[in-house]
Subunit: 513 residues, 2 copies
């Protein structure tokens, strides 16, 4: 695989000058064109030590218009990052549509270093690489262009290069321990790199292997290849996943063949005022304590509230937040995405609010909008919302693996009860703003929403993130059910270690902990 | 996830009759339409014990036209299967274009059973599931429709059903050990099933979860869903992977920036007649013994010979086969695919000839045609040959993991030497047939082939399946290099256990061994 990066390619000084000039002009041009599109471009810079990855990054920054580029290095994690699921930092680095991001190391840095230093095994490495393949495919399906560069040196060239670097005062290299002996591990490093590249070298996101010995050859090749990749992408239709096979069952005729989970809810369930009051008090007390326990144990909590309009989400959320110290939680009301948010993958705006270890985020509506309102209203194509089930499961799996406790509630009310509440709201001045034409329109699509909810639960109710369906016609009953589910689940989850066993991520570097 | 399969859906007898009649007509119609297309349809039948998977298979066979359907069950492996890489049996079961195959258990059966019986761990299960995701995506990209059914029962329903079954003399169930106590493991089984479904439930190949308690509901739903899936697929363009980003480097101008691996070969290398003869004798002797050793150790050998026209593949292969007992090897000359072969994925015709444990297959040209002649001549689209690199690596990884020793040779000659050989062949009557107009045409595309070879080596020369580039201008030199590489690699490989460690497949069921 690396043989072809050891053939001695060079470019002479004179030729470099001429070619660089033309290249710079073209790069700026293509960058301007890019700004008019909805394509985010991700440039990943990886390679062996001493190959001059930093120099390449500097060169690209010199050649490109700084206004459209951001550079991120992934060496050590910040406090903010360490306390969140591992991919949080990558989601923060992803460029918006029309923009370009240079990721130094990117999502390959940690797996590479950790496997090389034998902090994880091949099987764990492979699991992480599969996550990367899915992650890249998800971004590409969303329109992104990913250009992955690997810079390579022969064993002898690396030895020479590292000797030079260790004499250079400005070199990061100088500060590393055992620097002089790094090249002794050349083959082990190459072995890990081959595994990583082989596993993640896919038709839709190939690796570009570049011989790094001659700096002029290296830099020109990077520039030209990037230029060509962007140009090609600009001239092509957006990359979309294959059209889906229809993902729903074709049901036989007759009502008994079409019963859904929602049909099974007994909406007549209710609670008398007295019981409600006393239960509420007890549950709030317990939840307050559990929230502090979670804080002390550094376990995060993510709550998702979805439900029909006027289903009682807000009321249920308030009964919970009233119980919790305000420093511990954030409630995120989710409406239509802002312009900024729309420039990103649909999960981006939810990743932003993922809580730090020990804290709580409450989503009042959530990423499930993709398979609910966006599906029913046609804001997302069928291919988009169909593949969202797997994307959402992968997202939630990451939360669970990082120790986050995740609960999802669906609040259901009957059509009659909804009508009653709509009318009530229209009567009460301070509630009137809560009811819009859209609510009335949604109401007409009741059957479509019902089908969407049913399918959502089938595809996304998992052991680590189960849906709780709540009978919502009686508000006291619904609130108590939510709080009780919260208490019981939290209690059980806090009583055991976060597992993620068997599906464990590569352990974080203990030095960094 | 399984909640929705426990809601009590039913269909009454009368309604079943009416609906069945309409369904059967439509199924036969759609099957006839399918025959005119290049779409292979794969129906996977899985589910909990007692759900009636066998009944469903019988029902589908009753409803469909037998001429377009084949059914395969994957319970225990045959001798033929056990001695080959695990996926060999699935490749044998895949339907041709326009045909339909019902796979009872399919590639999900072994992972499910083995994880349930704790013969493997979650991490190993996940690795296998990732392989399945890649495998299904590969077939779908090639035009296939995959319809995956999971049949489910509630815990109580399963208990009842299994009790009934164990009283039925014709039931397979009756013959299983500890049959009566199976339902005691209901939750563990469901736990494994959830992991499998969640991991492999993708937008392009979703799972259909079906409540199996009511047989009429179950069968009608299967039939209708299958009908709808095929109909939808018939009305859609073939599923293709996203357009690729360009996968090759854009090189700077100037010859020194464009040196390739092939340029580095010293084609002047040669061997005198005497040395050739004695080396040949010694190598052939050694190879004969190594082939028997491999046979005894049940290690297979797969050899791939590729090279320019008149590069000397045939001569090199004969020097090897002359040394080997004829019972041990098969040489497969690969030309343009036959009609039958063209009805399948391009890898199918190579899987067919994968040797049994201990045997040798020699491919004179191979699956690399996809990224060589098919690429250069435009027989494959860019998307097709680009994704082939990853598909080939995955294929070869499976060979390596099953203990197969894999060697790949590229025989290179200079353009002048090729011309000389072409002319020679035209002079010798019994060699004249070896030279065609096509050979002359290929010769004109020398630069394109060179680029394709270089890229092929970059993407597919791996630790477990490295390319050996052979300087071919001097035939004796080339043959000795091939045989020596063979001897050394075989010797080294036979001296150690097949590893595949860290990337290990789920172990085969020891009972079956």
């Amino acid at each position: 695989m690396f043989e072809a990066t050891k053939v001695g390619r060079t470019v002479d000084k004179e030729s470099f000058k001429t070619q660089q000039e033309a290249l710079r002009t073209q790069l700026l041009e293509v960058q301007r064109e890019l700004l008019q599109t909805d394509i985010p471009v991700i440039v990943l810079i990886s390679g062996v030590e001493g190959a001059g990855k930093g120099e390449v990054v500097n060169r690209l920054n010199e050649w490109l218009d700084a206004r459209g580029v951001r550079t991120f290095a992934f060496w050590d994690e910040t406090d903010e990052e360490r306390q969140r699921p591992r991919y949080w930092r990558f989601w923060n680095a992803i460029p918006g549509r029309g923009k370009l991001a240079i990721l130094f190391g990117g999502w390959y840095q940690a797996p590479l270093e950790q496997r090389f230093r034998e902090l994880c095994k091949d099987a764990e490495l492979d699991a992480e690489l599969n996550r990367i393949v899915d992650f890249e495919r998800m971004l590409i399906n969303d329109g992104a262009l990913i250009v992955k560069f690997w810079f390579h040196l022969s064993e002898q060239d690396q030895k020479t290069r590292l000797r030079e670097l260790s004499r250079d005062d400005r070199s990061r290299w100088k500060m590393l321990p055992k620097k002089g002996r790094f090249h002794e591990h050349y083959q082990e490093y190459e072995h890990v790199a081959e595994r990583i590249i082989r596993h993640t070298d896919r038709g839709i996101s190939p690796w570009y292997l570049i011989e790094a010995q001659d700096r002029r050859y290296r830099d020109l090749t990077v520039g030209k290849t990037l230029l060509h990749a962007v140009k090609t992408r600009l001239s092509q239709p957006p990359a979309t996943e294959a059209p889906p096979t229809p993902g729903h069952l074709e049901l036989p005729d007759g009502p008994s063949a079409r019963i859904t989970l929602l049909d099974q809810l007994d909406l007549s369930l209710s609670l008398d005022r007295e019981t409600y009051k006393s239960e509420l008090r007890a549950l709030q007390q317990a939840l307050n304590e559990l929230a502090w326990e979670a804080y002390n144990k550094k376990r995060s909590l993510v709550l998702v509230f979805e439900g029909v309009d006027a289903g009682g989400k807000g009321g249920a959320i308030r009964r919970f937040t009233n119980a919790i110290d305000a420093r511990l939680y954030r409630a995120i009301p989710v409406a239509a995405p802002t312009d900024e948010e729309q420039a990103y993958h649909y999960l981006w705006r939810f990743w932003r609010h993922i809580p730090r270890a020990g804290y709580i985020t409450i989503y009042d509506r959530s990423w499930y909008g993709r398979v609910l309102v966006e599906r029913v209203e046609g804001f997302a194509t069928e291919a988009e919302w169909r593949r969202a089930y797997a994307e959402i499961n992968q997202f939630e799996a990451q939360l669970a693996e990082s120790g986050t406790i995740l609960l999802k509630f669906w609040l259901q009310v009957s059509q009659e009860e909804q009508l009653r509440r709509f009318k009530d709201r229209e009567q009460v001045p301070y509630k009137r703003f809560k009811i819009t034409d859209e609510d009335w329109r949604n109401r007409e699509k009741w059957p479509q929403y019902k089908a969407a909810v049913n399918e959502m639960v089938v595809h996304t109710s998992t052991e680590y993130a189960a849906w709780t369906l709540v009978e919502g016609d009686d508000k006291p009953y619904a609130r108590i059910k939510v709080l009780r589910t919260l208490r019981d689940t939290l209690k059980a989850a806090l009583a055991r270690e976060p597992d993620g066993a068997g599906n464990r991520l590569i352990q974080r570097d203990e030095k960094q902990e």
